[in-house]
């Protein structure tokens, strides 16, 4: 099999080896290994022993290549492969779209077409593609500020996302949300949240609705919700509160941790007492799974199981995807803290390169077919930019339109009429 899971323990490099002496205005002290303030735990270990004390009704699974190999044989006995050709091409196209789109975002940002905080997803495509391509339209996705690719994988057109980034009225949120707030009712993308952890309760609520529809409204509903968030979020209260509630009520949700080891400049090891995030699942009574997030096929296998569990009403799963972002935290981040050796290591595990290799080695696709996909995506992204460029900026009248779903919420003016009845109101020239 092309993806040989490394059982090598990956440790982020200590800070002191990454600093160049010229950088004078950093606020990070250079630490010697002896004063390293963080967990000395290894990141993950493929250990099959589970102590009886920590054993709960849910199983703890650490995915290794053995597990995947076993599944490989089970799932597709005829062909010995994890995916069919169509699936493979779909996955490839989705990852290429994610990568190309984000690269274009960087270009556009530096050309002054988009502003503010833009967080790119390069390197993490396997997680988005691996999970979201298994969902139906009615399933919900909740993300963080690093949400462009989640939206794209879920089906939001590239032109709508690009337009939103340019702040145009044709954006998926009419230009009102921006990079960190991608929403789509049509595709059930529930955001896009700027504060980390803020979206997890929203995802929990969407999962609650699914259960409510089934049990209280007696509808035929097995919609699943995926909540994506990072390693930094896993130290936040909302994460734990929602793990508890989701497990308590067996909500149809999968908590997907995109552990890229860094929360801006804070290494996961410096922030977390026990950095093995998957272990936090069983503490709340749900399975905790660790998976190689640079390998889309492995992610997909784990995702299949977690999503199926949720659909069957068996409750939530916590999936920790070990992944990496090739760019800085945002386009404003100089990304000086991460060790170049670490970056180089993960660059060799580029999920797109890996899938390409897999597809070709297993004769699922030819070079020509893959190049055709790349070309097609290039055109899609360029068209998206053109569309966004040509789109109009929001008019002044748009300013107050979506503050309230029911604009009577603006109240009654001195003349006795509801403010929203004043024709000048939506023009934005009325006194509010």
């Amino acid at each position: 099999m092309a993806f040989s899971a490394t059982t090598k323990i990956i440790q982020p490099m200590y800070i002191n080896s990454a600093r160049s002496p010229d950088k004078s205005d950093s606020c990070n002290k250079i630490l010697s290994p002896s004063s390293f303030l963080g967990s000395n735990n290894k990141l993950f270990s493929i250990s099959k022993t589970i102590s009886p004390l920590s054993r709960r009704s849910a199983t703890v699974v650490a995915v290794s290549s053995d597990v995947v190999k076993k599944k490989k044989v089970e799932s597709n006995p005829a062909s010995n492969l994890l995916i069919t050709k169509e699936e493979g091409l779909e996955l490839y196209e989705d990852m290429i779209l994610g990568r190309a789109f984000e690269d274009m975002c960087a270009q556009m940002y530096y050309r002054g077409k988009m502003f503010g905080f833009v967080h790119l997803y390069n390197g993490q495509e396997a997680v988005s593609t691996g999970f979201i391509k298994l969902l139906g339209n009615r399933d919900c996705v909740v993300s963080t500020y690093r949400d462009h690719v989640h939206a794209l994988s879920k089906g939001v057109p590239a032109r709508a996302v690009m337009s939103e980034l340019f702040g145009k009225a044709t954006g998926c949120c009419r230009g009102q949300g921006g990079s960190m707030h991608m929403f789509s009712k049509e595709h059930n993308v529930l955001g896009g949240f700027a504060f980390i952890g803020e979206g997890i309760p929203v995802a929990t609520g969407a999962a609650f609705t699914s259960k409510y529809r089934r049990e209280a409204l007696k509808e035929d509903c097995d919609d699943v919700t995926l909540a994506f968030f990072g390693d930094g979020t896993c130290n936040n209260g909302q994460f734990f509160e929602c793990l508890n509630m989701a497990a308590l009520w067996k909500l149809p949700i999968v908590f997907v941790v995109e552990n890229n080891l860094w929360a801006i400049g804070m290494s996961h090891l410096r922030a977390t007492s026990d950095p093995q995030i998957w272990k936090k699942g069983p503490a709340f009574g749900m399975p905790g799974v660790h998976v190689d997030g640079m390998d889309v096929l492995k992610v997909r296998e784990v995702a299949k199981e977690a999503i199926t569990r949720a659909r069957r009403g068996e409750g939530p799963t916590l999936v920790e995807c070990e992944t990496y972002r090739f760019r800085g935290h945002s386009l404003a981040d100089p990304d000086e803290l991460r060790d170049p050796a670490e970056k180089a290591h993960y660059a060799t595990r580029d999920p797109i390169t890996a899938l390409k290799k897999y597809l070709m080695e297993n004769s699922l696709a030819s070079e020509a077919e893959l190049t055709a996909i790349e070309k097609k995506i290039e055109e899609v992204v360029e068209e998206a930019v053109e569309f966004a460029d040509k789109s109009p900026v929001p008019a002044r009248s748009q300013l107050l339109e979506n503050v309230f779903a029911d604009p009577r919420g603006f109240g009654i003016g001195p003349d006795g009429k509801y403010r929203c009845e004043d024709p000048k109101f939506t023009e934005g020239t009325a006194q509010v």
Binding site: C140, V142, C172, C173, R174, G175, Q176, G177, G178, H181, F183, K185, L190, G191, G192, F193, A194, F195, E198, I200, P201, V202, T204, G205, A206, F208, T209, K211, Y212, E215, A216, L217, G237, Q238, E241, C242, N244, M245, Q398, N402, V403, F404, A405, D406, P407, R408, G409, F410, G411, I412, G413, P414, D415, G416, K417, Y418, R419, C420, E421, T426
Partner: protein, 398 residues
């Protein structure tokens, strides 16, 4: 035509109240109907998702529109927490998507019995007992609302919702906007707040002042049994996120309310007592202090106009403005703290809009900028008392 009857005074409080209140046995509030013309129904077309619906424009605590219809049904007497429950129950019957989230709302029936019996009737999923995680279950309510439910979130005490500020501000308030109008958040967030009976500083908070800047939410405060039920129903039916402020000390108010279904307007203020000399604006519990003071003032020959603003955000500038134009003097009596409270905003709004009509500067009586002390005497001095209201009116009307 507005039929005006004089209000006799505040509601008769139950024995839970302190001696400040007159314990004379007035069995019901007799307020007067000020009927708004239905021509005010909104018909303007607004871009976006607003669909003009039927607007119920009766703002006031009215028993009847005419005495004829009063005779048809006697109404029923109940306590405020029962009225809140009745409103909630009617809405839950009417729309199966309405559900309740909160601590101890289910099996326990609610700390103030507002949800008593509902879990037995509707099940544990529709009346959800949550773990103690305000920020998360409020966020859960947002997510549920986005995906089609209509949750009512109970803060066991409004003060606890400080923990949910992230979700209330960013998600309840702003999400409709940042999603470009794609998702609506028809949540109701309700609970008891205000200064109680020696509950200590943290249980005596007035969150309306902290929430008022959040764009995209409406704040309403109920004060009578009648308006409690009407506002509860209106809040649940509203497509906007609404925060309904109840008051710890008002739950045992008793009043007779109509048997017929009624829904009040979220944006309108309530004329409690029309008058000529001065406009007194108030809300929630302070309404009763004001009405107490009003009795004294009437005896002294004053004629105060008392308006319960009810809608803390947005302000009903029509009712307020008409009153200011008539009396030219304004006194605001509120329970918020001096700094940054509803009174402060209201003072600014009136000054901006009706400055020309004022004969005297607006006086705002608020609570002291003090964490509410436990000691009874100190607590009494932090909130506005009827004697202070009387003194302020006398001063203003000199």
């Amino acid at each position: 035509m507005a039929a005006m009857l004089q209000a006799i005074g505040g509601a008769s409080p139950s024995v839970a109240f302190s001696d400040h209140y007159n314990k004379s046995s007035v069995s019901s509030i007799r307020s007067f109907p000020v009927i708004r013309s239905d021509a005010r129904s909104s018909s303007g077309s607004i871009h976006g998702s607003f669909k003009p619906g039927k607007i119920i424009t009766k703002a006031t605590a009215t028993q009847t529109e005419s005495s004829a219809s009063a005779a048809s049904k006697p109404g029923h007497e109940l306590l405020m927490f029962e009225a809140l429950r009745e409103g909630l129950e009617e809405e839950m019957d009417r729309d199966p998507r309405v559900c309740v989230f909160g601590e101890d709302v289910g099996h326990y029936g609610g700390s103030y019995k507002v949800t008593k019996g509902l879990a037995q009737k509707y099940g544990d999923l529709r009346v959800l007992d949550t773990p103690i995680a305000e920020n998360s279950f409020t966020g859960m309510a947002v997510g549920a609302a986005m995906t089609g439910l209509r949750p009512v979130v109970e803060g066991m005490n409004m003060g606890f919702l400080l923990l949910a500020f992230n979700q209330i501000s960013d998600n309840c308030g702003m999400l409709h906007y940042t999603s470009g109008g794609q998702f609506t958040i028809p949540t109701v967030i309700r609970g008891p707040g205000g200064v109680g009976r020696q509950l200590g500083a943290e249980h005596s908070q007035r969150l309306e002042s902290y929430f008022q800047s959040i764009p995209g939410i409406q704040l309403v405060a109920c004060s009578t049994v009648y308006n409690a039920k009407g506002l509860m129903k209106a809040a649940i039916r509203s497509e906007n996120p609404v925060v309904l402020f109840e008051h710890v000390l008002l739950y045992n108010l008793k009043e007779r309310i109509p048997d017929e279904e009624y829904v009040l307007s979220l944006e309108e203020a309530e004329m409690v007592r029309p008058g000529e000399h001065i406009t007194i604006l108030t809300y929630s519990r302070m309404r009763y202090h004001v009405m107490q003071a009003a009795k004294t003032l009437v005896n002294k020959g004053y004629d105060p106009e008392v308006i319960d603003i009810r809608s803390l955000k947005p302000f009903d500038l029509y009712t307020i403005g008409n009153s200011v134009k008539k009396t030219h003097r304004v006194l605001i009596v509120e329970e918020c703290m001096r700094t940054g409270g509803i009174g402060a905003s209201l003072t600014a709004a009136i000054n901006e809009n009706f400055h020309d009509y004022l004969d005297a500067p607006i006086v705002c009586l608020s609570s002291q900028d003090v964490p509410t002390p436990y000691a009874g005497t100190l607590e009494e001095w932090t909130v506005v008392q009827p004697s202070q209201i009387v003194a302020a009116v006398e001063q203003l009307c000199k």
